[in-house]
Every structure is written in C-alpha cells, then in structure tokens.
Amino acid sequence: MLANYGFYLIFLCFVCSFYGFVSAIMAAFWRHRRLYNSSKMAMTVTCLSAVSASALLIYAFYQRDYSIAYVAKNSSNDLPPIFTLTAFWSSLEGSHTLWTSLLTIVGAVAVWTGNKDNEHIMPYVAGSIHAVLAWMFYLAITHSDPFVLNLPAPTNGRGMNELLQNIYMAIHPPMLFIGYTTLAVPFAYSIAALVYGDITEGWLKTTRRWTLVSFCFLTAAITLGGRWAYVELGWAGYWAWDPVENSSFMPWLLATALLHCLLVQEKLGHLKRLSLVLGIGAFFMCYVGTFLTRSGVVSSVHSFAESPIGPNYLIYLAGLVLISSAIYAFRAPSILPADTEKVWGVSKESALVVTQFLLLSFAAIIFIGTMFPIVSEAITGQRISVQAPYFNMFAPWVGLGVILGIAVGNLMRYQSDKIPYGKKIILGAIVFAIPVTCFLIYMGDVMSTKKTSSLIAQLVGLYLASWAIGCLFGDLYVKLRDVNFKYGLFFSRSQGYFGGWVAHIGMMIAIIGFLGNYRGMEERVTVHAGENFSFYGYRFEFAKEGIQLRQEHNATLYTAPLKIFRERDGVMIEDAHPAQSKYPTKDQVFNEIAITGNIWHDIYVVLVDFDKIDGKRVTFQININPTVRFVWGAVMMMVLGGLIALFDKFRGNRSRDVVAGAWEVSA
C-alpha cells in the first residue's frame, strides 16, 4: 500500500515540476504574473509531495516494511535506530530521492525568498529549477524508483552496507547533497540573467548568499567524507584522489572560484560573464560527479553500457551543456561588460583573477586525471590508471600558488597598485614566520623525515604558510587601525572581509596539516599475547588474554586490547581496542580502527590479522599520521569563515553605503 502512495507522490512531483517548468516559461514569455504564481505553487506542491515521499520511505524503514525492495535490500531487523534512518540514503534509489527532495526544498525556498530586485528574472529562475527537477523525477520514475515492490515480503532484510554504519556516513551524504542542491540556485540565476539579458540589482546578493551556503556545506561534507575514510577504511589516510572524492571536490573548486569572481563583480562590475559561466559550471560539475559515480564509467567504459542510468545522465549532461552554451552564445553579448568607470589594474582584482585561475586549473587537472582513463581506453584501447601519485605531482604547485596568492593578494587594494604598508607587512611576516616555522618543525618532529625531497617540501611549505599567516595578520592589523580599533564598527562594516580572513587562515592551517603527509610513518608488527613493542617513542602492550569477543548492536567484535604508553614518562595514554568486526548478514570482516595521539600526530592502529585458533598471535599495523587534526580544525575554521561572511548584511548590496549609513570615520 505504502509503496503505491509513495510512487503516486513521486509521479505527482514529476507532473507538477513539468507543469511548473512550462508555466514558468510561459509566464516569462507573456509577462504573466498569475501564471508565474501558479508555477511557484507548483514548486511548493512538488516540494511538499517530495518531502512526503521521503517521509513515507523513512516510515517504511522504521516499520521494517520489507515488501518494499529498497527497504529489504538496505536494512535488517537488527539495525540500530539511527542507522535505520540513514539506511534511507545508503544506496542508489534512496540517495536519488534524498537529493531530489533537497532540491525541491532549495527550489521552494529560492522561489519564495526571491528578492523584489530580482522580480523580472524570477520566472526564469523557477523555470530552470523546475526543468532540473522534472528531469530528476523522470529518472526517479523510470530508473531509480525507491518504491519498487518485493512480494511476498521477506521476514528480514539483507542488511545495510556495514561500511556506511558510521556516524560520519550518517551526516556526510545529506550535507554533500545540500551543498550540491544549493548550487542549483546560482545556476538558475545565471541562466535567468542570461535569458533576461541583464544582471538585475539583487542578483549578486542572492547568488553570493547561496554560493556561500553551498561553500560551507560542501567544505564540511567533503571533510566528513575524508574523516569517514580515515576512521573506517583503515588505510591511514583521508584523501585518496579516487573518482568519487574528486567529483565532490570539483564543484567545491568551482564554487570557490565563483565566490572570488562575485567579489570582483561586486567591487568593480567586471567579470560578469565569468560569474555566469562559473555559476553554470559549478552546478554542471555536481552532475558530472554523479554521472561518474553512478554510471560506473569510472571503472571501465564497458560497464557504462550495462547500467541504464548512465546513458540517461549522459543525455542530461549533454543537454545541459548544449542548452547552457546556446543560451550563453546568444545572450552573453547583452550582458554588458562593466557599467562603471573602474579600470582594470595590477591590483587586488588581478590577484583575484589569479586565484580563480589557480582554482579552475586545479579543477581542470582533477577533471583530466579523473576522465583520462576513460578517454584513453576509448581512443587507444589500452587501460591505464590515474591515481594519487599523478594528482600529488600537481597539487603542491597549486598549493604554492594558493599560498602566494592568499598572502600577497589579501594585502593588495582594489584599483590601486600600491600596497599600504606593503613592505612592512611582508618583511614583518618574513621575520614572524621564522619562529613559527621553528616551533612547527620542533613540535611536529619534521626533521625525522627520511626522504630529503619530502623534507625540503615540508620546510618550504611550512615557512611559506606561516609567512602567509603573518601577512594575513598584518593586513587585519592595518584594517583595524584604519577604524581606530573600533572592533564593533569594524565587524559590522567588514563582516564579509573578516569571514574571508578566517577562511584564509583556515586554508593556511589546512596546508600545514596536509604537509604532515610527507612524514607519515608505518610499521607492521606481529606479537604474541602479553608481549610489548616500541615505535616512535611509544610502548605498545598487547594484553595477556589475547583476542576478546564482544557483541555490539548487530556486530560481533574481535578485539585486541592494546595498551599504549608514552616511553618518556611511562604514562598510559590510551587503552586502545583495535578490532575486526563481523556482521551477521555478511561474510566479510571489517576493521575497527583505534585512533589516539595528540594534536601533532595521530597514532592509528589497525588489527591486520590474528591467529584464528587461539587468538594469541596478532599482527598490528601502526601508523603515525602527523598533523591530521590540523586539517579537521582548519576545515572547521573555513566553514566558520563562510558562515561569518554569509551574515554580512551589506555585502552584495549595490546601495551598500546608503544601507550602512555614513560610516566615514574621523581619523
């Protein structure tokens, strides 16, 4: 029964969004307000019924209604409540439903909060979102219907993917999807501005807000995904440059580039068309990513033809590119370059262009790296792999550019080739960076790096990153001095700048954290029960009793109790329990990793194998992962920076000075 209602709701969504698309286009064509209102209503109805469909599916999960194939496939009777909820998006059909539901919510919010300044383009905005929705609901009906029946209903489900039974995987997908779907709004506004033929007054403010929301969610989501890989997969890293990670990273790069582009547009009125292209491109990249991951084209060109969803995505992507570029080709000339007297100069605007170049070329490199195996196989017939070493070859150079760009670019001013107090700040930062680098080298034990090239990369990277932090602080000081250290005034007036400042500091700390990867250490140790061994200044003591059995929810854990002591003073820092877990529904064994340590390095312990007969002999893999926690902290700073910037009341307002009132400060 439930399944039927669910399917009806999704079908209703498709009909409504299709109607909404047609009515929005006609409303725009005839300038018919009531027709547009009708389209708006269609969006609302779509939203409500999509959310109801999702709610029905969640309800089915809690009812353990195995007559629905999706529920039977992805849950089982012994699944804990929290994972019963997250099982909803643990597989293809459910995640598609989640994505579409979120997109309807975003669409409804975007349509109902439409600024009066954007009145003229709203029908196009609604039309674009409706078009995307209609396609996604079409796909839901034809290829990924979560409400397919499975009769007679089995008494127990097949169980949720064990790897996804993790709190990070509970939060990561919804956040990533919010990040993706909020990019639909900049996309819709870009298309709308092109079709309408002008950038309206409120365009920039709205686009900036939604891009920032997306930036925050994407940043957090990508990191949560990395954290999940780190704590769950057991290969001691958080970023493998695999196609799925890459495809979530590319929209982030484009969205970040868009943010910087909007900044130039706001200050000078230049780069309008680039903003439009980036707005469309960022959203396009979200679907490229989904296409790559869902069609299976990544593993082989041949598996592409086997999945029915692949060709559909390809048609959609091709359609998106064709329509967008056709609209751009015909309408871009009507977007006038700059309606200001502002002339381009070698100043902050140029620095921002360099920033965009770096972000975009990094996205291009990742795109090439991800697509190259497919292209190569299609053209030469030879299969090749493009994995981490390839990307790691280019990433440091982009990172170098980012550091220099952030350090110098932030000091520059718009429309002026002079940097106020430039020499003082840059030289001051050069001096400031010396003790900071020494501190980082000493605390992070950098000199223990074995390979000379890695050591040099770290020393240079650490020095430059601390230098950039010095420059950023110098710039903040100068800006504060400009307002006589009236902090309240500074914050209310430059909230956007301050948000960016926090995010940039976060980026630098993240780079310091990434550099830790150059000096990671790894050791495999086989011990008998009761023995102990030393590694990297720690003493590890494997318990006398050997492997122990424990039951946790639906999993059986084979735990190897391992006490970790600091050798220096003999203090026990952790009673670690690395384990292997076995789930009733599957034959495989999964790793439960023990992670401890301090801010300078994580001690990462994996139970690789143990003697199955008496459990007295085990192999551990111990990884020392330096400065991983820097990365987690830094990303939180970046999200925080994005949030601070998001609530800047005045940013993006053309009439900022009027709104803000007279803010001239007497010296």
Partner: protein, 187 residues
C-alpha cells in the same frame, strides 16, 4: 576460512559508491587479458604465504614499500597494493617479495608487472604515446596560464598608461561628445 580483513573494506574504498551505487562490486574491473594467466601461474604455496604474510613483518622493508606503492590494488579504486590487504593485493605483494628475493632492481620489478598486467597496474599513466597528453596538458596549463594572465593585464595596463585613468567606455563616450561638438561647430 581465508581471512580478508580489509578485503572488502578497501575494495569498496570508493566509499561513497557505497551509497551511490550498489553495483560497484559488479563493476570491479575485469583483470586484463594477461591477469588470469598470472593468477594461475601463482603457485598454491604462494597463496598460503599470502595469508601468512599478514601475520609477518616482512612488509616493513623500505625497498619493498618503494616498489609496492607504485603498483595499484587491482580491486580497489585509488589505493596502492601497499595500502590494501585485499586478496589480489596480497598476491601481488607476495610476487613483489619473490621478485625482490631474486635480487631484481625496482625498475625490473615494475617492468615485470607491466609486462604481466599491462600499464594499468601502474598508478600513473606511462609517459609515452597518447598518455603524454595527461602530463602535458596540466603542465602547459600551469605554465602558460600565468603568462597569459600577465599578458592580458599587461595589455590593459599599457592601454591604461597611454590613455590615462580612463576606461574604454569613457573614451568612447568622450570621443562621441567631441564628435558631437565638432558636428555642431561645423554646422
């Protein structure tokens, strides 16, 4: 039972695939034509050693790591055999150990694997033929991009210096005004 601690773990390392696509397992790349042959050639004792290998510490040698991190895990996405304990990876690691015992250098061992499995086993595309493109394009982008930007800005600055602090629009406007004035003057 053959214990495959991280077997599945790393093979689904595509992680989000987990929720993106349950088909992933089916999409595991079929081994290249030479691979099955390689698999059958692997003698049974070696298989046993593979399992024992997990209970040994011979993987710690730096020379071994140097080789193993260049070879991809055939059943995972994005990991080297060094980082993976999938059964296929363990087999490859055993083969690396065997080759190293024969006293072969790193280059020879890598070549041995490329001959068996094709260039697919390497983690980055070989720098030859069509695959050069994968290297040339990013390098070209990173090198030529800044030059291009610099040229564009430089061109703008030249215009800027010649004409003073006036934009193109302002200039056009000014010229039109002058033209208008001339027209009025002339008649």
């Amino acid at each position: 039972m053959r214990l495959s601690a991280r077997l599945l773990v790393s093979s689904i390392a595509v992680l989000e695939f987990g929720y993106f696509s349950p088909r992933l397992m089916a999409q595991m790349p079929e081994p290249s034509p030479k691979a099955p042959q390689a698999a059958t050639e692997t003698p049974a004792p070696s298989q046993d050693k593979g399992v024992k290998g997990l209970l040994g510490t011979e993987d710690n040698s730096p020379a071994f790591r140097d080789v193993a991190k260049e070879l991809r895990c055939p059943t995972c996405t994005g990991l080297s055999v060094l980082e993976s304990d999938a059964s296929f990876s363990v087999q490859i690691k055993d083969q690396v150990h065997e080759q190293m015992k024969l006293g072969k250098s790193k280059e020879d061992i890598v070549k041995y694997f490329v001959e068996r499995y094709g260039p697919w086993i390497l983690r980055e595309p070989p720098k030859e033929g069509f695959n050069l493109l994968a290297w040339a394009v990013p390098i070209g982008l990173l090198v030529l991009g800044p030059i291009l930007i610099w040229l564009l800005i430089w061109r703008r600055r030249v215009q800027f210096n010649v004409h003073g602090v006036r934009s193109t629009e302002a200039l056009v406007h000014e010229m039109q005004e002058r033209l208008q004035a001339m027209k009025e003057k002339n008649g």
